[in-house]
Symmetry: C2
Subunit: 214 residues, 2 copies
Amino acid sequence: MAQRVRVQNFTLSSDGYGAGEGQSLERPFGHADPSKLMSWAGATAHWPNRTEPGGSYGLDDHCARDFTNNIGAEIMGRNKFGPQRGPWENYDWQGWWGDEPPFHTPVFVLTHHVRPSFTLGETSFHFLDATPKEALERAFAAADGKDVRIGGGVHTVREFLDADLIDEMHIAVGQVELGRGERFWTGPEQLTDRFHLERIPSPSGMVHHFLWRR
Amino acid sequence: MAQRVRVQNFTLSSDGYGAGEGQSLERPFGHADPSKLMSWAGATAHWPNRTEPGGSYGLDDHCARDFTNNIGAEIMGRNKFGPQRGPWENYDWQGWWGDEPPFHTPVFVLTHHVRPSFTLGETSFHFLDATPKEALERAFAAADGKDVRIGGGVHTVREFLDADLIDEMHIAVGQVELGRGERFWTGPEQLTDRFHLERIPSPSGMVHHFLWRR
């Protein structure tokens, strides 16, 4: 099967925001409370950041466990990698995720301010000042024949959508309303000219949106 | 994460039958039409027997693609392996699946009539006259730390359920009515004393049942 470009477990508020306003070191999702926004995933057995046993194995977990399934690389925006803006003052910052980031593959960070690659646990981070198409070529080459995940945030997923580079998206829409921040869509109808859409409500209250290229 | 015992893509008629009556070489599912029973999976991009590109990427596909996700071995009953009964007349029969069976792991076939192991493509078949518990020990050891799939048929899944050895089940219930054959349940309520249950209807008309141990 050809390598594909996928968005997985991308979580939005009921009004279509992927993050709140005012990201900072203390508040990676701005004024949004990530524990509320992401609680559907945190409750599952296969939540990538889970350290304790337990969790559910229903629909939400089938989505959560697909996060790593046949994924060989991730591309993310700089704002997902960290709260800094502009030139790097130093290279101390190594992401939000501690010593064992949940990716376990090469990760390509899109930024105008490149810095040296480094490896943390099973994840390597590489910094690219590149177009989406160029970044994707690098990621495909690094993915060992597997698919590439576009990891967010909102701006990065939109860039890849605008370049028509995304094959498939799993978007989880919750019941939390954010009102302001980084808006991904007003609704999935904005994409159905180019994508098939299935809306699958979960017992948790999330609505899973599966979209794939027509 | 500990190794788990999973049932995946196990498909039942609306009245709870996993196969029709009268299995034979010509009719592996007895009087049931497998192309109707399994059409939900056949329509997905990740159907393990798919040879042509195409197919859907929605909820049904997320179930289909989980078939191989972190699975290191399968256990099946002899009636899933072939239509023969009693002692083997010869060892010409190598399963229904042609030169490249869709398992790609060791497969353990439960039978009172053992025969030598053989390898076909990426799948190896091993024949055991053993209890479910003994077979599971062998499969765990062969699974390289991954989970073990109980592949069916109905009788085999019931045996493992009766021995309380199953952690998790994905059961897809269709709209076809069979009326007779090998019945798995009268309804999922029979299992909710021991399992959590989520019933998730799919746009295809299937109802996916996710069950996991309480």
